[in-house]
Symmetry: C2
Subunit: 334 residues, 2 copies
C-alpha cells in the first residue's frame, strides 16, 4: 500500500456528502436524530470513500481506548493459554481488543510492563497469576481505573478477583492429604518459585503438620514453573531423596518434568512413586501413566475475568470475588 495516501476523514465525507462533519459523526456513531435521507446519503459516501474512524482521535476525546491489557506469566503454559483464550473471546464479543503482555515468568518484566501501562493505553487490566509481590503490585494496579486479578487476592478497593483455589497452596495440601490417605508417607513438594509470595515449603510442612502429616523440609524443593525446571529439580530431588514415595507438584508442567526424570531414574509410577499435579493441562491426560491432578474450568476463569473487568470499565466498581472450584481428577500416577 502507498504510504502517502491521504487518510479519509470525517471532513472528506462531509464535504463529499454536502453536510457538516457533525452529521457524519452522528451517522457513524448512530447517535442523535438524523433524517433517514441524510443517513443513507452519508452512509453511501462514507462507504464509497472507504472512511474509517481514526481510533486515536476518538480516544483523545472520549478517553476510551477499547483496549484491555492482559498480563500473563507464560502463554506457552497451556494453563495460561486457555485462560487467555477465555479473556480474549469475551473481550472481543464486547468490542474490546486485548493487549497481550507476556512476562515470561520474569518479575522484572512484569513490573516494567505494569509501570509502562496507563489509562491512555488501555481501559482496564487483567493481571493473571502475578509474579511480583503485593508491595509492588498493589500500588501499580491502583493507578489503573479498572483492574481484575486472577489467582491473587486484592484489597477490595483495587479490583475484582477470580480465584481457582480457595487459598494459595490449597491444592498442594489437598493433594498431600489424598496421597496420605492412599498410604504414602514420605511426600515431597515441588514448590513453584514465582518472585512473589507463594505457598512455600514451610507453609506446606506447617499446614500438613496441623493435619497430622509429617513432611521433612528436605523433601521440598523450589522450582521455576516450567517443564525443564521440573525435570531438573525433580531429578535432583529424587536422587537426593530416593526414599520419597510421592511428590506434589506446583503445576502440571513441573510435575510432568519430574515424572520424566523419575522414569529415567527407573522409578515405577505409581507403585514406586506417586505424583499429583495441579491444573490438568491436555498433556497430563495423555502421558503414560496419566497424571492425577486438579481440574478447573480455565477458559471460564478467563472469560469471567473479562466480564468482571467489563463491569468495572462500565463504572460499576463493586468488588466481586469469583471462585472456581478445583476438582481432584484421579488418574494413573496415584
Amino acid at each position: 500500500m502507498t504510504k502517502e495516501q491521504h487518510r479519509v476523514t470525517l471532513e472528506d465525507v462531509a464535504r463529499e456528502a454536502g453536510v457538516s462533519i457533525m452529521t457524519v459523526s452522528r451517522v457513524m456513531n448512530n447517535t442523535g436524530r438524523i433524517s433517514e435521507e441524510t443517513r443513507t446519503q452519508v452512509r453511501v459516501v462514507a462507504e464509497r470513500l472507504g472512511y474509517r474512524p481514526n481510533r486515536a482521535a476518538r480516544t483523545l476525546v472520549t478517553k476510551r481506548t477499547m483496549l484491555i491489557a492482559c498480563i500473563m506469566p507464560d502463554i506457552t503454559n497451556p494453563y495460561f493459554a486457555e485462560i487467555l483464550q477465555g479473556v480474549e473471546d469475551t473481550a472481543w464479543q464486547e468490542g474490546y481488543n486485548v493487549l497481550l503482555m507476556n512476562t515470561n515468568e520474569n518479575p522484572d518484566r512484569e513490573y516494567a510492563v505494569l509501570s509502562q501501562l496507563d489509562d491512555s493505553t488501555v481501559d482496564g487490566v487483567i493481571a493473571c497469576s502475578s509474579r511480583i509481590s503485593d508491595e509492588q503490585l498493589i500500588p501499580l494496579l491502583r493507578k489503573h481505573p479498572a483492574v481484575v486479578t486472577i489467582n491473587r487476592v486484592l484489597p477490595k478497593d483495587v479490583g475484582s478477583i477470580v480465584l481457582s483455589q480457595r487459598h494459595i497452596g490449597h491444592r498442594a495440601v489437598l493433594a498431600a492429604k489424598y496421597l496420605y490417605q492412599t498410604g504414602r508417607r514420605r511426600i515431597g513438594y515441588l514448590q513453584l518459585v514465582r518472585g512473589s509470595s507463594s505457598f512455600t515449603s514451610f507453609d506446606f510442612v506447617k499446614t500438613l503438620e496441623a493435619e497430622g502429616i509429617t513432611i521433612d523440609p528436605a523433601w521440598c524443593r523450589r522450582c521455576p514453573p516450567v517443564w525443564k525446571a521440573g525435570y531438573e529439580q525433580g531429578k535432583m530431588l529424587l536422587e537426593e531423596h530416593p526414599e520419597l514415595e510421592a511428590v506434589v507438584g506446583g503445576n502440571d508442567l513441573v510435575t510432568l518434568g519430574l515424572m520424566r526424570a523419575a522414569i529415567e531414574l527407573g522409578r515405577k509410577i505409581p507403585d514406586n512413586l506417586a505424583l499429583v499435579g495441579a491444573d490438568d493441562i491436555l498433556i497430563s491426560s495423555q502421558v503414560t501413566p496419566p497424571l492425577t491432578t486438579f481440574r478447573m474450568d480455565k477458559y471460564e476463569i478467563g472469560a469471567m475475568a473479562s466480564r468482571l473487568l467489563l463491569l468495572r470499565m462500565q463504572g460499576d466498581y463493586t468488588y466481586r470475588e469469583m471462585f472456581f472450584p478445583e476438582e481432584l481428577v484421579i488418574r494413573g500416577t496415584t
Copy 2:
C-alpha cells in the same frame, strides 16, 4: 482510584516548572537541545506530578501507535503459543506492544478481525497461518501499511513472509516417503481443514503417486486442527480402514488425538500402526511412545516475523522471505 482525577498533562508540568510545554515535550522525548539545568528541573517536576504522556494524543500527531497486531488461529495450540511468544518478546524489546487477535480457527472471525483493523489501531500486522483464502486475505492485508505473514505465501508487494516448510504439504509428503522407506505401504493422511487452501488429500495422493507411492484416497480424512477432532476423525478412519499401516497427521495435536484413538482400538504403535506428526510440540515427546514428527524453531519463527515487520514499519519495504527448515525427529511411533 478516583475516576475524576485530572490527568497530568504537558501543560501542568510546564506551568509548574515555569517553562513552555515544548520544552517539557522535548525533555520527555529526549529531542532537541535542552540545557542540563532545565532538563533536570523539568524531569523533577514531571516525576513529582506523576506525568505520563497521553498515548492517544501522541498517536494522533505522529501517526504511530507503537502497537502491532498478531492474528493467530489458536493460542491453545502450543505450536502457535510458542510463535506468539517469539513475536511478543521481540516486539517488546523494540518498544511495541502486541494486540492479540485469536480467531479460534474460525475463518469468519479472522475475516472480521482483519476488516476491523486499520492503521489508526496498529502500525503493522502479523498474520499467522491464516485460515482464509488468498482472495479474501490479500485485499485486506493490502490496506495495511506493514504486513508479515507466517506460513502463507504473499505477492511480493504485500508483505514479507516467514515459512516453516518449503511448500504447503511438504512435511506430509516427507513423512509419507519416510514411512514408505520403513516398509509401510498403506499410508493414511489426516488433512487439516482450515477454511483456506490447504494441502488436500488429492494433492497428497497426486504428489506421492509421482514418487511411486500409491495412496488410496479413502485413507485420507479431513480434520479440524484440534486434538479432539484428531481423536474423533482418527477413530473413524481407523475403524473404517483397519488395513492402514501408518498415518500422517497435519499437525501434532490431531496426530496425538488419532494415537489415543488407535490405542483405544487396540492398535500397537509402532508395530501395528506408525504415526508421524508435523510440529513437535512438548506433549509429543512426552507421550508413550513418543511421536515421530518435524522439529522447527517456533520461537524464532515468531521473533523473525516481528523483526521483518519492524523493518517494514521503519519504511524498508524490501520483500523478504525467511525459511526455517524442518527436521524429521524420529521417535517411537515409527
